[in-house]
Assembly symmetry: none
Homo-oligomer: 210 residues x 4
DNA sequence: CATGAATGAGGGTTCATTCAT
DNA sequence: GATGAATGAACCCTCATTCAT
């Protein structure tokens, strides 16, 4: 039953890290929720931190894959490419909402290990996005911008809905775990690309992504 | 010397909560950094959580004050008003970068107390922003938008730079603790207001805020 | 207001020691209940233990006085004398029910200081009771008994009702803080003296004590 | 080695609770005396209070069993039955002198949990004793008495020797931990039953219990 | 592959007490 | 007489982890 035990631990840890944070969650909590013996965590992940690293890795592995998948459209134009990347990220995060929130929060902690893992992947992210921005500027699709500042804004837009889920639902009455939200919010991000990034006259015929 | 002790505890806790998170910081760490006796934390704030609540309160008290101060410009037009609010928030957060980062992270945890404090202030924030968005739509300054979605985007833009300071500096080579950054980033936010929110033809004569 | 402060501390401490025990009561609890500053306890009684010693002393001072007052009737006969002593103790304890319970419990703890204070007074108690028992045996009022065993039994009878007040009220439905109880229980003790101690034929004409 | 650890903790706690009281004993004291790690107390008994509850339970479980065992003699007559019960209690307490003293003291504290545990068992005790008293009155063995008052006296007599062990030895020079004492004191209790409770002419042929 | 017993370190908090004012 | 600030020690408890089975 090794597979089940390991999977159960991962699922429980994502849920609990998401709710209480890494430091706010004990290995006993995780083991209890996963209905396994606490010693199994050491067995499969060395220690509690190894479990976090595992979660970080599977998240970023797939996160970067989503970006790479979108980047393949670069030849179709920077705008379409960027919109595809944004769409991929948004839906990936929407489909893994708990893991996403947990990761986005944990990487704000100044931990040596977290920083190292994160850097590798986020350097890749930066690399692809920069390439897109530069391509867009080169083809005159985009206005002249500072790529890193654009990355910053784009990430701000894409992460915001997943960081504060109870703020979203209780204050804004917006529910990020509903498909409807993801669809609608994607349009907002597209509008940001069109309105802030693209140089063409405003309100162009919307560029379909699919 | 009560004032000094209390202030020292607050300063130390902001610094440590910022670096290691609330749960990752022990009261002994705080007391040690503040060079006071650990029992003083219980003396002044009842317990560790009371210290967090105190930080939350002073942050949001001033945060909402910044919004209210900007809102007073509502009669000068929604665009100017919103830009002033954005400016106020951005510089307030820039000037309290550690406290801001700590708060932005901590409020993502599902804590009862945090949620209560947060709701009070964030409801006010939503109230004022909604009024501005509605005013702008009424005066035809703004396009037709869903206010809560705009709030979401604006907050995403304004919070992003303060959430991951080492990602900012190590990956993007952008330094949010420098005045230059705040000035430049403000222009980006203004561009978002102009490009995404305002209905007038793109690239207008930039509206000065001050 | 020195008098009030001191009195308030004593009253509060008797109440709290009675309910929670000496170790289960903090000086802050006492100060809070007495509505005085905790430092006053050190001022008036040196430390927390000094407060307990003070309570012990005032209790036993008066306790022994009650015995001595009863012992003065020795010339009227051992039976009358013993009944008077029993009556005095019973009513003294009934009138100081909280203090009594607290003391009776605290003296079961193996504390050096408590032991010393206690010994002094309880040696006196033993002295007087032994004299009464011996006089009774000498005058043939009492059967031949071992005085210390009689002391033990008498004390068992006299202390029992004050030791477990909530057992008394909740299990036995007997209320030791009512005058009626003290009157009735005194008759029981008299019956013990008559039935166990006295040699005369059973059920004698009851000897009035007053 | 789970058995040994648990047993060692129980033995150490009885000894220390007996000497210093529950509140006067720290878990470190207990662990140190038992030569085990302090965390084992939480492991086996949840917390310090759970350890006390455990002691209370094992004490009263056996205490009530002693009473029930004596009650089986009810058909042989109330006097014999009551004497058997008294004998059983006395020897049970004599054989568990430290546990007994600890329990007798702790139940005088107004603790919610203690009260609940206690009530259950002491209600049973009252039930059986009342049945004996009523039977005795019915068969004219006993005089007309108030059962609860008799219970009170009997418990006073049976508990007294175990409550203040150092008073006993240092003041009265009586040693309750010696077999001789228990034998002799039992005769005193029998005399109380004969002299106070039984209606037959005084000084009957002593009823052997065994 | 999984478990329950056991550990040592550290957690937050409360304690009695001191002392300048 | 009385206070509030401050302390250091100790409190109970939980922690992540280890290890024999």
């Amino acid at each position: 039953m090794g597979k089940n035990t390991k999977e159960a631990i991962i699922a429980a840890s994502i849920s609990l890290f998401n709710t209480n944070g890494f430091h706010g969650t004990s290995v006993r909590d995780i083991a209890s929720k996963a209905k396994v013996n606490p010693a199994n965590i050491a067995y499969y992940f060395n220690n509690k931190h190894g479990l976090l690293e595992y979660c970080l890795t599977i998240f970023f592995e797939r996160y970067v894959a989503e970006i790479e998948e979108g980047y393949e459209r670069i030849e179709q134009g920077a705008t379409i490419c960027l919109k595809t990347i944004a769409r991929n990220i948004l839906f990936f995060q929407y489909e893994n909402i708990h893991l996403t929130r947990m990761i986005l929060r944990e990487i704000t902690i100044d931990s040596q290990v977290v920083r190292e893992i994160m850097s590798t992947y986020l350097m890749k992210e930066r690399f692809y996005l920069n390439r897109v921005f530069e391509r867009g500027m080169q083809t005159k699709e985009f206005r002249h911008v500072t790529p890193d500042y654009m990355t910053l804004q784009l990430k701000g837009l894409l992460n915001m809905p997943f960081l504060n889920s109870h703020y979203m639902s209780e204050v804004l009455h917006v529910h990020p775990n509903e498909r409807y939200f993801a669809e609608k919010y994607l349009k907002e991000v597209d509008r940001w690309i069109d309105g802030v990034l693209c140089r063409n006259e405003y309100e162009p015929a919307y560029l379909a992504v699919n």
